[in-house]
Amino acid sequence: MRAERRLGALAALLVLSVGFYLLWNLRAPFGFILGLRAERLVALVLVGAASGAATMVFQTLIGNRLLTPGIVGFDALYVFLQTLLVMLLGGAGLAQLPSPLLFLGETACLMGAALALFGLLLRRGAGDLIRLVLTGVILGVLLRGLAGFAQRLLEPSEFAVVQQASVASFNAVDGTLLPFAAVALLLALAGALWLAPALDLAALGRIPARTLGLGHDRLVMQGLALVAALVAVSTALVGPMAFLGLLAASLAQQLVTSHRHVLLIPAAAVLGAAILVLGQFVFERLLGLQSALAIVVEFAGGLVFLALVLKRRPR
């Protein structure tokens, strides 16, 4: 029960930071400012929760607590897909499409591409995880390079359209996307919770899980689809954030000392959201720095990664 209580405390922390964010220094016109703040708040919460949950699920699937979907190139894949889309349709053609439709299409594309790519890799290399992960990392570099490459082939005006998607920023969030992103996030979270018991077992490793009767390959496919959807939510809203998820997932594991994903996934989601909301509160309201958050979160996430590596006992 202790783990449940800790999850409750984390949720309380999130509520508290949301309250601070919304009400600190609130002046007239109340309604207008609240509305403005609420929109950004929703974006922060969605991105944080999606990153945290995606990383938690992903780490369990590949059996490594150091990696995030971002490190192995998921968001690079998203940026690449978006660049391809701009190339095919043209920046103007893209602007005519309603952005929610575009978001749904891109999410579906990312899920398909991620499944095809990483599913293939996993199936071929399930025994050789080291090679698989490195392949993913390099693939991410390749995709980033290809996206940059394709961007160079674009006209400057179209280049600007894509550029926005390839640099993390909380300043230019498309408000019309929020409801769709929220629905996608909720669906994906529900899916992740549904898979939670199987993920508990998968955390033991591929072979033990298989001897205990888990259809490991199928679980990996289902899980990767969810991860892809979650990554699409966060990347579409603010762009690639490689380490936010790592920060949230490793904190969740430290704080909720449980192996049960029913608790771990919500904890990672809540922590991811709380980190962003608190961080934005501190940087925007207290320090007056508008766009430092993405950089600082990445920095802190990187430090956490190094700390995790160095803490591991050499065996």
Binding site: L66, L67, I71, R124, G125, I130, R131, V133, L134, T135, V137, I138, L139, V141, L142, R144, G145, L146, G148, F149, R152, L153, A242, F243, A292, I295, V296, E298, F299, G302, L303, F305, L306, V309, L310, R312, P314, R315
Partner: protein, 314 residues
């Protein structure tokens, strides 16, 4: 030696191509073709070859020093540390001569590389892929410090120009620092056997009578200086130091003294080819050579990684 002759012939061919291709038509253009060659094309071709050779050799040294084939200067924080040094000089002493800027960049690059090396000793050796990941993240941290600093001081444009290596800005009088790379290469050739011993690990190297610390420091110094010169002159070029040494080692084994010239030549050839391709792909505009190489280099590396391992003959 037939391989050496083949590579040399390829290099000459590429260099000829590089001299002939560009936005200005040499034969019927409005400019004097002799001047175009002397001011732009020849320096550019030389710069690409020097940078490629230097990065490939630096890759070899890094791989031997940390005993991991999957690491390269781009994964040890070296370019990012050099950029931090450059930023600092640009802020504190904007009027400093280029040589002084470079000296500072080389120094911070050495510090950054040494930091990675210190870190690498605490990384469990069991997973060979862990070290490149640690390097990636270490470089990312240094990079985010640099980005933050640049962002706070409106120097982001500078940073971008250092981040993506390209040769379109190379002119006579602005690339000569790169000849330092040639000096480094010579030094490395003299040290080849010691660097090979580094690759056997500290205990073994010591038992064979090597002054481990001194050799290591020299090796890292060469890497830092080479990388700093390249970052200052043309910008960072990831993957060259990773792909080229691995390709050569797959092909010819691991005798360093015999391989170093090959590694240098192959590095020069690959980077020059990337530059030529970058000029052709979207003529008359240019795509940075680093970007071209990242795409092909990553592709090559993926192939290396997933190809079934074949034994190479001596």
């Amino acid at each position: 030696m037939r391989a050496g002759a083949g590579i040399a012939a390829g290099l000459v061919l590429l260099a000829a191509l590089s001299l002939a291709i560009g936005a200005t038509n040499l034969w019927s253009g409005p400019l004097d073709s002799g001047m175009v060659l002397a001011v732009s094309r020849i320096p550019r071709t030389l710069a690409a070859m020097l940078a490629g050779a230097g990065l490939a050799l630096a890759g070899v040294v890094v791989q031997q020093s940390v005993q991991n084939r999957l690491v390269e200067p781009g994964l040890t924080g070296t370019p990012e540390a050099a950029m931090l040094g450059l930023l600092a000089v640009t802020l504190l002493a904007p009027g400093a001569p280029l040589l002084a800027k470079m000296g500072v960049a080389a120094l911070t690059a050495l510090l950054g590389t040494a930091g990675f090396f210190a870190l690498s000793r605490h990384v469990p050796r069991r997973d060979p892929m862990l070290l490149p990941l640690v390097g990636l993240i270490y470089a990312g941290i240094l990079g985010s410090i640099a980005l933050g600093a640049a962002w706070a001081t409106d120097l982001v444009q500078y940073l971008w120009s250092w981040q993506s290596g390209e040769f379109s800005g190379v002119l006579r009088g602005r690339y000569e620092l790169l000849w330092l790379v040639a000096g480094m290469a010579l030094l490395l050739y003299l040290l080849a056997d010691r660097i090979t011993l580094l690759g056997l690990g500290e205990d073994y190297a010591r038992s064979l009578g090597l002054n481990y610390r001194q050799t290591l420091l020299m090796g890292l110094g060469i890497v830092a200086l080479t990388t700093a010169v390249i970052v200052v002159s043309v910008g960072a070029m990831p993957f060259v130091g990773l792909v080229v040494p691995n390709l050569v080692s797959r092909w010819r084994g691991d005798n360093l003294r015999r391989n170093l010239p090959l590694v240098a030549a192959a590095g020069a050839g690959f980077v020059l080819a990337a530059d030529v391709l970058g000029r052709l792909l979207r003529w008359p505009y240019e795509i940075p050579a680093a970007m071209v190489f990242a795409v092909f280099g990553a592709g090559l590396f993926l192939w290396l990684l997933n190809r079934p391992r074949v034994r190479h003959e001596g």
